[in-house]
Symmetry: C2
Subunit: 218 residues, 2 copies
């Protein structure tokens, strides 16, 4: 969809040999969704590919860091809501999903993505995009087999693949490995980016990441 | 120091009638210090003045929000340290104060600033800058009468003014009023900015604030 490397999601390096940008997101994070709409084009403009990684901020933020969910944090919750609205106005986005709706369980979608990245890597990214789109643009809770199968269909994948992922205990193991690896790398939020050993947290950091790649760091 | 309105700090509007930018910072926040070096020039470029407000993140972040200090938060602490170093490299800054040093008690400096803003408003900003500079560029703990008097001297204020502030119980009341007012406005971190009713948190938001003022919002 965006740029020459879109739809790969397999971590393969570009012809120039430049390492990919790693991009972590949680399906229930609006800022993660915002970043998902821009990261591939940004990467492509620097000849980089993107490796998408499912993350569970319920594990990183709540369990490992011992923090509350942002929207439930006094003062910061209201600020975050205003910031989401401001971002949407600026980027001509309308979220159909209310940001203060009870968060969906992101586990099934994240497990399916982790599974697809191993078993159908060429199709994983299209699935992730479809699930994010369904959730944020159509207010669909993509936390059940029917909704996830519809996402697969939308993305041009056999729905049977999603059913296979949901039925395979390996999906949970793969996702746990993803999240554990993220934590070991110091990744904690959504969106989070790493490239060439450098870490960037938040959709606000996309401009800085862009500058970083342009300059080759500083 | 920066721009035509520097040194006012009294919230007076510019000739054009544009409302000032309100800027909150904690003396112990490196990101607040970073913002203090840029906010006046940014404001001046839009014909705005800046009202500086002392904030205590020990009250907002720890007590009201129930969060840990960022540097003590797992994962985020290490990220913040790397981000501070990256910001310094980019902006040719060297912090003499180690970011992982035990934080100084910001209360005396914040009280003096709150007191000066009422009793010597033309000199308050110079004092704030001198205290920030002493702390971050000379690793001085500006938490005692001698150090604060030296800041006053550096800023061209009579040291006696600082002694008067430290001895006046009203200083604590003024600071408490500042912090309570900030919380009522939804201000929680350092740096924090408000202009024309819009809130911006973090030094990373200066570019967005700049765009906001240029466009007149969106």
């Amino acid at each position: 969809l965006n740029g020459p490397n879109a739809g790969r999601g397999d971590g393969a390096q570009t012809k120039s040999g430049a390492a990919p940008i790693h991009f972590w997101f949680d399906f229930i994070s609006p800022f993660g969704y915002f970043a998902s709409l821009r990261i591939d084009a940004l990467a492509a403009s620097h000849g980089r590919s993107v490796v998408w990684h499912p993350l569970l901020i319920g594990v990183t933020v709540l369990k490992v860091m011992g923090l509350k969910p942002v929207l439930e944090t006094p003062l910061k919750g209201d600020y975050a809501k205003a910031e989401i609205a401001r971002y949407c106005r600026r980027h001509q986005l309308r979220l159909k999903r209310p940001v203060d709706a009870a968060p969906m369980n992101p586990l099934p979608a994240a497990r399916v993505l982790a599974w697809l990245q191993v078993h159908a890597p060429q199709q994983a990214l299209a699935f992730a995009r479809a699930a994010l789109h369904a959730h944020w643009q159509h207010n669909i809770s993509v936390d059940n087999a029917a909704a996830l199968a519809a996402c697969a269909d939308e993305a041009g994948l056999p729905a049977a693949l999603v059913m296979q992922a949901l039925a395979d205990p390996q999906a949970a193991v793969l996702l746990r490995t993803e999240v554990d690896s993220a934590i070991k790398l110091g990744v904690f939020g959504s969106p989070f980016f790493r490239v060439d050993g450098e870490a960037f947290f938040g959709v606000d950091k996309l401009e800085l990441l862009d500058d970083w790649l342009r300059c080759g760091g500083w």
